[in-house]
Structure formats: structure tokens, C-alpha cells
């Protein structure tokens, strides 16, 4: 027993002393020549193959092209947003990217507390300009509109489907309603099944691929021949389920031809919000001293047809380009409200 107490005492002393000696080997971001970029995720994982990961790819591009020191922190509980941001700010990072509308308030608060740091808030609409904060927003309704129009033109049955995460998240709502508007723009009589996975907790609505696949299949049994999967892994499941059941799938956020290799043979297109270039552009502007405070709008687009290119008729391709142009120059509006009314 005596030995045990001795071991205890040693361990206790060691535990108390350990924090005193600082960690070394991490780059010193306080030096002006070291350009550091940190990223804080929302309550989600960095490897989500969509939202957080796209932003992280933009940061990694800054590592490659701008020689930046990059690092990320994953948030496990919403109450830690502020703490995670200040972990970077106190290490004197030059740019901090916060991903998701949920971090909006914590980001503006941090910008006031750390005026020397630039903040990029992905999907954070800035109602008022805060110095040092650029909100990176996307016209998801336009991306949804584009793939909706595409789906309506390509559908043989006149029935199309969409499987989404929760409509309580505005970008998801805009994707869904944009999809509806785009399809109806082409064919006012088209039948559209839109399902949101709002019946589970907030932490699960985007991470339920099995449900997504089951829902997509259920739509196809009712005649839908194209399914748009919009909303994290739930949407991914829907795209895979649709392709497997012989229908066409449409991905979301990024060109999912690369993230869903299993669905390549039936992936018609993806409704893209170009998060990666948007984040990179803003990081670069921060480095060049041309950081825009306030709102910064990224681009929406539809992804190439890849394997299905030969099946898309030339007139559909032409029509898609026409719609894209009209959306960009403002002559065509989606008429989707930014938030679920």
C-alpha cells in the first residue's frame, strides 16, 4: 500500500507541474511574417464532406498558395463557440473562419474583442457592418433554382423529389424552395415531393443517410425519377438511394461527383455553393490588406454533368446556360424568401 501512495503523490505533483511547462514546436503567430488562419466548425465534424470541409479546403488552399499556417477546432457544444474562437484569437491568428450561421453572434462579439483579427463568417448574413467581419453568403435559392429547372427538363415522369435536412436552417430552406421554384419555372404542372428531416433532433437531421435513402426510394416508388439530396449526409443518402434505385440524383454544396463516388453513374449535377473559392478569396484579401467588412457574396452554380453528359440534350444545356445568365444578371428572380416564413 505504501508504494501506491508514493506513486499517487508523484503523479499528483506531475499533473500539477505539467501545465506549467508550455508547449513548444507550434508556430508563433504573433510574428508579423507568419500568416495564420484558423477555422472553427459549427456543431459538426470537419470531415462532413460538405459544409465544414469545403470551408476547410479553402483554408488549406491558403496554406498551399499563400504559405499560411492553418489549424482547425471542432465545436462539440454550441456554448463553446466563443471559447474556440478566442483560442485562435489569443494565439494571435490573423484570420479566423467560423462556419455556420450558428456562430454569427459569437463571431461579431469576438471581432469587437480582438480588433486586430479578421473574421470570415460563412453563411452569416451581416445585418449591420462590424469592422473586421466579412459574412460569406451564397444565393442557395439560385443554385436550387438551377437544378430544379434541370430536373424538370430531364424528368420523363413529370415527378421529381427533394430530400433535405431541417427547414429551420435558412440555407437549406432556400435550396429546397429554389428547387421548387426552378422546376415550376420550366413546368408549372410538375409534381414535386419535398421532404425535410425535421422529425429528429438538430444533431441528427443532417447525419441520417439511412433515412435519406429510404425516403428517396419511397419517392421513386411514387414515380419520381430525379431526386435532389440537399442536406449533409441525409442528402447524400438520398442521392445514393436514388441512383441505386435507377433514378437520377442531384447533389448539393459541392460537386458531389467527387464526394459520392458510389453515385457517379447516376449523378446528373449538383447545386453548388462555391464555399472553397469564397473562403480562399476572402483569406487572400485579408492577406493583401483588402478585407471587405460586411457582406460578401459567393457564387452559386450547377456542377458539370460528368458521366451523363451525353444524355443531356443540347437544348437543355443551352436553356441551363440561359437561365444561369439570367439569374446572374438579375433579369430572372427566384422569388424565394430568405427564411422560412
Amino acid at each position: 500500500m505504501k508504494k501506491l501512495y508514493a506513486v499517487f503523490a508523484v503523479l499528483l505533483v506531475a499533473a500539477l507541474l505539467l501545465p506549467a511547462c508550455g508547449a513548444s514546436g507550434t508556430p508563433d503567430c504573433s510574428k508579423p511574417e507568419t500568416f495564420c488562419v484558423g477555422l472553427v466548425t459549427d456543431v459538426g465534424k470537419i470531415d462532413d464532406k460538405s459544409f465544414n470541409q469545403s470551408a476547410w479546403e479553402g483554408v488549406k488552399q491558403a496554406e498551399k498558395d499563400l504559405g499560411a499556417v492553418v489549424q482547425y477546432i471542432e465545436t462539440t457544444d454550441a456554448k463553446d463557440y466563443a471559447k474556440n474562437i478566442s483560442t485562435f484569437a489569443e494565439a494571435q491568428y490573423d484570420v479566423i473562419v467560423t462556419v455556420g450561421f450558428g456562430l454569427g453572434e459569437a463571431t461579431t462579439a469576438a471581432a469587437q474583442q480582438y480588433p486586430g483579427t479578421k473574421f470570415i463568417g460563412v453563411d452569416q448574413f451581416q445585418a449591420a457592418v462590424t469592422p473586421g467581419v466579412a459574412g460569406l453568403n451564397f444565393p442557395e435559392d439560385q443554385a436550387g433554382f438551377l437544378v430544379g429547372a434541370l430536373a424538370a427538363q430531364m424528368s420523363k415522369s413529370g415527378k421529381i423529389g427533394g430530400v433535405f435536412g431541417t427547414d429551420a436552417v435558412p440555407p437549406v430552406w432556400r435550396f429546397g424552395e429554389g428547387y421548387r421554384a426552378g422546376a415550376q419555372y420550366i413546368n408549372p404542372n410538375i409534381e414535386i415531393f419535398i421532404v425535410y428531416h425535421s422529425d429528429v433532433g438538430f444533431d441528427k437531421t443532417f447525419s441520417d443517410p439511412e433515412w435519406g435513402a429510404a425516403t428517396a426510394k419511397s419517392m421513386i416508388e411514387k414515380g419520381a425519377d430525379i431526386v435532389f439530396g440537399g442536406g449533409g449526409k441525409t442528402g447524400n443518402g438520398a442521392v445514393i438511394g436514388a441512383v441505386e434505385a435507377g433514378a437520377l440524383g442531384i447533389g448539393v454544396d459541392t460537386d458531389q461527383y467527387y464526394t459520392l463516388p458510389e453515385a457517379q453513374k447516376g449523378l446528373l449535377s449538383s447545386a453548388m455553393k462555391l464555399i472553397t473559392p469564397g473562403v480562399f478569396d476572402l483569406v487572400k484579401m485579408a492577406k493583401d490588406g483588402a478585407f471587405p467588412d460586411g457582406n460578401f457574396f459567393g457564387k452559386a452554380a450547377y456542377a458539370p454533368y460528368h458521366d451523363l453528359d451525353s444524355q443531356v440534350p443540347a437544348e437543355v444545356k443551352a436553356k441551363m446556360e440561359e437561365i444561369n445568365k439570367a439569374l446572374l444578371d438579375g433579369s430572372l428572380a427566384t422569388n424565394v424568401s430568405p427564411v422560412k416564413p
Partner: protein
């Protein structure tokens, strides 16, 4: 200290210390073993366990701010851990702390933001704040009492019923936060309540740190739970009903009443956890706050051997791990999930203390927690 522990017990301090060592020996060895096990896993997948643990310790206890954040995390853990521990003492397994906590938080938030407008008067802080906390406690108690009553009077096992009620609470919270209770401010896009009034807030203890008066309140509550369990008749009845239900029946204890009361008290503590999170830290309730606390609380209660002091200590340990994980990831990019692995190992070694006793060659002592008595009740 070491020498004192070896001498025959004389003074109250020595006796207390010996009792503490006796009770804490296996948990502490379990923690050490689990930390070593976690370190091996980190090492196997190519990380540096020393750098990782250093980051963890720095993040948890390396600065005033770190201590403050650890106590912020510990506050709901203490309340929820006490909730589960109290139920264990009464022979009940409350997996429903999660749902009770969520409802407690919702109730406190509602009193915090809606009640003044409803009554049309500004409530002073000394009325509004206690009212908000009380509402959280009551709703939690009610949500806990339902499975208690179902067990006492209909024989439905509380484990399944509390799991079911977690799902019900989850659906209802989503519904309320997206609908009737949603912040109607046009700029708000999040499923959350409006901010609670200033008068319903627990204040921070120090300026510029987030630690608030909820933490001392949690410590006080731990003391009160200890007092209730060991110094009152009700506590004696709860413990008897838990450790020896047959004896309890012969002793004339109203078994069913105690059962419902235990679950209600447990729910009350879990509701308090939610209410304090809202009034002391978040100032509103939002989807995404406090997910998984109910399940962490089970591990905390078991690690603390269901004793209030043990619960406080293990809550601080778990809080430190959760809080320090951020810094660990920041410094070493080791995924925070390793914390769950370590926690599971700790729990494994605490539960199967025979393993720990074998490794460290400590004499066995009969002290087994028996919770399961089938599903029928």
C-alpha cells in the same frame, strides 16, 4: 499524509482521509489505467500521447481562463450527475436526465423571457431569477416523476420509459423552438428562444470570466443532496428502498411513494442543470445546447460511486477533459473523440473494479452496485 494513512485511525481528519482513500482508490487507479490505455491508442495511430495530454491539461487547468471554463462545463455535469446518482441510490436508473434537462432549460427560458411580458410588470431580480430556476426544477421533477409513477403503479421499467421520454422531449423541444417559442426577431434564423430578461440571470462571479454563480450553487446542491441522503428520514428511506427493497417493505416504508419521489427529485436536479445553464450561461435555450449531458452524467455518477462528493470530483474531471479537448485538438489535431474512448475506459475499469484490483494487486472488498432488477419492476 502517507504515514498518517498507515497508522491506526485516531483524529477525525485521519479517519476522513482514510475513508476517502478507501473509496477513491479504485476510481483513481481506473482513471490512471484508462489514461494509459488512451495514450496507447493515440500512439498506435501515430499521435504523440504526451503532447496530447499536455494540451489536454493546459486546456483544462493551465490558466485562470481554463479553470473558469472547466468549472463552466462542470456546473451542469454536477447537477446532472447528482440527478443520476440520487436515482441510483434509490435503486433506479435514470437515463432520462437528458430530456429532463432539456425541459428544465425550456421552462426556465420561458419564465425568463415571456413571464414579464405576460404579467405586464418588470419583475425584480430577487423574484424573477428564483422563479425561473424554480420553474426549471418543477418541470424537470414532473418529467422525472412520470416514469417513476409508471414504474410504481403500472410496473413499466424506468429505463425504457426514460429513454422513450427522451425522444418525446427531443421532438417537443424541436417543435417548441421552431414554432411557438422561437425568437420572432426578424434577424433571427436559429431555432431558439428570445434572450431572457436581465433580471432572470445568474451573474458571473468575476468580470471577464464566464464562471457564474451556478457553480457555487452546484456545490451547495451537492452538499444538500448529501444531507438529504444521510441525515434525513427521507434519505434513509430512499437508500433502504434502493439497497434492500424487501427490508424497506417490512420496515413499513411506502415503497411506491418513495419510488415516485426519488424519480421526481432526480428529475428536479436534472431540470436544475438545464435551468442554471440558461440563467447563468446561455441566457436562452437553443437547439444544439446541452446535447449528451444526460449520458455523460451516467458515467459521472458511476465514477463518483454515486456519492455527492465523488460526483463533484468526477464532474470536474469530465469537465476538464471536455474543456481541455479543444486545446488538445488545437495543438495536436488529435480528434476530440479520444475523450469518449478514455471516458468509456474509465467507466469500464470503475464498473469492473476486479480488473483494476487484479492489475494493481489490491485486496477485494465486497462493494457492488446492483441496479438491474429486470424490466418488470
Amino acid at each position: 499524509m502517507q504515514a498518517a494513512a498507515e497508522k491506526p485511525a485516531r483524529g477525525w481528519f485521519v479517519r476522513l482521509w482514510r475513508a476517502f482513500v478507501e473509496a477513491a482508490l479504485v476510481p483513481i487507479l481506473a482513471i490512471i489505467t484508462a489514461v494509459i490505455g488512451g495514450g496507447i491508442i493515440i500512439w498506435v495511430v501515430g499521435g504523440n500521447p504526451f503532447a496530447a495530454y499536455l494540451g489536454l491539461l493546459q486546456g483544462a487547468f493551465g490558466s485562470t481562463r481554463a479553470w473558469s471554463e472547466t468549472f463552466v462545463w462542470a456546473t451542469p455535469y454536477i447537477f446532472a450527475g447528482l440527478a443520476v446518482a440520487l436515482a441510483f441510490k434509490g435503486g433506479l436508473f435514470n437515463i432520462g436526465a437528458e430530456g429532463q434537462l432539456a425541459f428544465g432549460a425550456l421552462a426556465a427560458a420561458w419564465v425568463g423571457y415571456a413571464l414579464p411580458n405576460l404579467l405586464g410588470v418588470q419583475l425584480p431580480g430577487y423574484i424573477h431569477l428564483p422563479l425561473a430556476i424554480l420553474a426549471g426544477m418543477l418541470v424537470g421533477a414532473l418529467w422525472g416523476a412520470i416514469p417513476g409513477a409508471l414504474k410504481a403503479y403500472a410496473g413499466g421499467h424506468e429505463v425504457i420509459n426514460t429513454i422513450m421520454m427522451n425522444y418525446i422531449a427531443l421532438n417537443l423541444t424541436s417543435f417548441l423552438l421552431n414554432g411557438p417559442m422561437k425568437d420572432k426577431n426578424p434577424l433571427n434564423v436559429i431555432a431558439r428562444t428570445p434572450e431572457i430578461a436581465e433580471s432572470a440571470r445568474l451573474l458571473p462571479i468575476f468580470a471577464n470570466l464566464r464562471i457564474h454563480w451556478g457553480f457555487p450553487l452546484a456545490l451547495l446542491t451537492a452538499f444538500l443532496v448529501w444531507y438529504l441522503l444521510w441525515k434525513t428520514t427521507l434519505g434513509f428511506e430512499i437508500r433502504t428502498a434502493g439497497s434492500n427493497p424487501d427490508a424497506a417493505k417490512y420496515a413499513g416504508i411506502n415503497f411506491k411513494r418513495i419510488l415516485v419521489l426519488t424519480m421526481a427529485l432526480s428529475g428536479l436536479l436534472a431540470g436544475l442543470a438545464g435551468a442554471v445553464e440558461v440563467t447563468g450561461l446561455n441566457y436562452r435555450q437553443e437547439l444544439g445546447f446541452s446535447i449528451g449531458y444526460g449520458f455523460d452524467a451516467i458515467a459521472i455518477a458511476l465514477l463518483g460511486k454515486t456519492h455527492p462528493l465523488g460526483v463533484v470530483l468526477s464532474a470536474i474531471l469530465f469537465a476538464g477533459m471536455r474543456n481541455g479537448a479543444t486545446r488538445m485538438q488545437f495543438l495536436t489535431q488529435i480528434p476530440v473523440d479520444i475523450i469518449s474512448v478514455i471516458q468509456a475506459l474509465i467507466l469500464l475499469f470503475v464498473a469492473a473494479d476486479a480488473i483494476v484490483r487484479k492489475i494493481y494487486r489490491i485486496k477485494a472488498r465486497e462493494d457492488r452496485l446492483v441496479l438491474t432488477r429486470g424490466w418488470g419492476g
